[in-house]
């Protein structure tokens, strides 16, 4: 079965995969969402949230729904129930619950399960590429009143995220950044020089692609600001656009909205310097500052 992978996937995407399978079974059986909701003593909108992977699953609910949908194959039922159980297992970040907002924990789950991460950055170096000192400077900027201990823990979340890049099956990370990201000396010149050197190292990783949109390009396609597009290996899981805001985040997965952002991302990637030119461009800036 296409969705039964062996690697740990993080709960969020497991929920999405499980949800989309349940929707497919429900539609194949011609059961309206109201009736499905009634079966498990829940509302129509609960069924919709389940099918979009936005809420957790109780094994008993999954079993009841499968029965309602006429799914009798023991192997399929066992796989679905195992997925439901795995989807209830918390991710590594649960120990940081107290400092991380829910919307960011969702992101960490998605990031850990993505097969391709595309990102456009206007101001800061992309989180997975930050040095510890740069991450600390960004964290302090965003949390001026935080205690030293909290800053440490926030930085440690960021560094733990980075282990994704060196995991046995890392995602492909395709990152486009504005020249401003390279010019703005966050944390001071010393921190920035080390950060640029680190970016050059990261760009050399086989699964990382780094492209720069130089100022000389003039205006560019991303009128809105920084955003990411997460892609998952499972054909039935749609791309997700992630846009971080000051106090919350936007997750877009409707095809029309994803299309719009994908188009901008593709245009930016085509407008930016090629990966090879971007590396020499970066090296030049590293010499200048």
């Amino acid at each position: 079965m296409a969705w039964a992978g062996d690697e740990p996937r993080g709960p969020t995407v497991l929920r999405m995969i499980l949800g989309s399978q349940l929707r497919r079974f429900r539609e194949a059986a011609g059961v309206p969402p109201e009736q499905a909701g009634y079966e498990i003593r829940a509302s129509r909108s609960k069924i919709s949230r389940m099918e979009h992977g936005r809420v957790g699953f109780k094994s008993r609910d999954v079993a009841d729904l499968l029965t309602l949908y006429g799914v009798q194959d023991d192997q399929v039922r066992a796989t679905m129930l195992a997925l439901a159980e795995q989807a209830g297992t918390p991710g590594w970040w649960s120990m940081y619950d107290d400092i991380l907002p829910d919307w960011f924990e969702v992101y960490l789950g998605l990031e850990g399960a993505a097969s391709v991460i595309r990102t456009f950055e206007l101001q800061f170096v992309y989180g997975l590429f930050q040095t510890e000192e740069y991450a600390r400077a960004v964290t302090v900027l965003g949390n001026e009143t935080a205690s030293a201990e909290e800053v440490d823990r926030r930085v440690s979340v960021r560094l733990t995220r980075q282990s994704l890049l060196t995991s046995p099956e890392p995602p492909q990370v395709w990152s486009v950044m504005d020249e401003a990201v390279l010019r703005r000396p966050v944390g001071g010149l010393t921190v920035m020089r080390a950060q640029l050197a680190h970016l050059l190292d990261v760009a050399g990783l086989p699964q990382v692609t780094l492209q720069v949109v130089p100022f000389a390009q003039g205006g560019h396609a991303a009128a809105g600001g920084s955003f990411s597009v997460l892609r998952f290996a499972e054909p039935e899981v749609p791309d997700i656009v992630y846009i971080e805001q000051l106090t919350s985040a936007l997750y877009l997965d409707s095809r029309a909205e994803v299309d719009r952002y994908l188009e901008v991302m593709d245009t930016l990637s085509a407008q930016a310097l090629s990966p090879a030119r971007s590396a020499s461009f970066l090296a030049e800036i590293a010499k200048e500052i």
Binding site: Q172, T209, A216, P235, A270, Q271, L273, S274
Partner: protein
């Protein structure tokens, strides 16, 4: 890499960017192909065009997959049985599973592959995602199929033209509507390659689907997309003039070396291809 000249901050070399021509208002053949193959790099206009095609001719996804698996088997053959270590893939398309360099480098990690496409979207994706093994090399050339001189001169940065090369033309010659022009493109490219080089070519036909498939193609060509023409198997075979065809010759893609399988040969589909060696 063919594109690693030094860029100077503050200056942009026009050749360096893939260009900005991403148009989501007309259907785009590489993106429709991506849709039929189950990819996610396609837009509403492409899905509508792909669906319209399938509404007229329902077997299209099967043809897309058969053409793709023919490509995979032919590269596997070239790398494994014919010992080819250099590939020139013209009309790359959007990255999917089992791209040319992945198939070749699975057999021979040191294999060197040059991808050629004239589309800025394809070029941006190829540069980012079609990355080589450390032992081998991949490079990307922004050039039109109709400009064999440019293709050959830029590919020479990565490929050694004194050694055999496998030329790949997968589902791309149908975009050259005039068959004499299409033949001359194949001839020019093969002329640049030494004896012992190979051609792997497949393209669409309409000998099985006939009216339905012709109608789907006509509607597609009327949509403003880059036109595509189906050829006869004989016309596809004529691209191999002067080459020695590898068994079983030019056949429907599923029948080209399908591997050991019991029972009848796979059913024929409207994609024909073959592999030929330059004597």
């Amino acid at each position: 890499m063919t594109d690693d000249g030094a860029a100077v901050p503050g200056g942009v070399n026009d050749d360096d960017t893939a260009g900005t021509g991403i148009d989501t208002t007309v259907p785009h053949s590489a993106r429709i192909w991506n849709y039929w193959l189950g990819g996610k790099d396609n837009f509403a206009v492409d899905r509508a065009a792909g669906d319209a095609w399938e509404a007229t001719f329902p077997g299209m996804r099967e043809i897309a997959r058969a053409s793709r698996t023919f490509l995979t088997r032919s590269i596997q053959y070239l790398a494994q049985d014919a010992g080819i270590r250099q590939f020139l893939d013209v009309g790359t398309g959007l990255p999917t599973a089992d791209n040319t360099h992945q198939v070749a480098q699975r057999v021979a990690p040191e294999a060197r592959i040059v991808y050629v496409d004239n589309d800025p979207l394809v070029l941006a994706h190829a540069r980012a995602l079609l990355t080589s093994t450390p032992e081998g090399a991949t490079a990307y050339i922004h050039a039109d199929l109709r400009d064999p001189d440019k293709i050959v001169s830029e590919a020479a940065d990565t490929l050694d033209f004194s050694q055999p090369v496998g030329l790949i033309l997968s589902g791309v010659l149908g975009h050259v509507v005039n068959i004499d022009e299409a033949r001359s493109i194949v001839r020019d490219l093969m002329d640049a390659l030494p004896s012992g080089s190979y051609l792997s070519l497949n393209d669409g036909t309409s000998v099985i689907g006939r009216e339905e498939l012709e109608q789907a193609t006509q509607d597609y060509n009327d949509s403003g997309a880059m036109p595509y023409v189906q050829r006869t198997p004989e016309e596809i075979a004529s691209f191999f003039d002067g080459l020695v065809l590898v068994e079983p010759g030019v056949v429907s893609c599923p029948r080209w070396r399908p591997g050991p399988a019991p029972g009848d040969p796979p059913a024929e589909l409207d994609a024909f291809g073959g592999v030929g060696r330059k004597p």
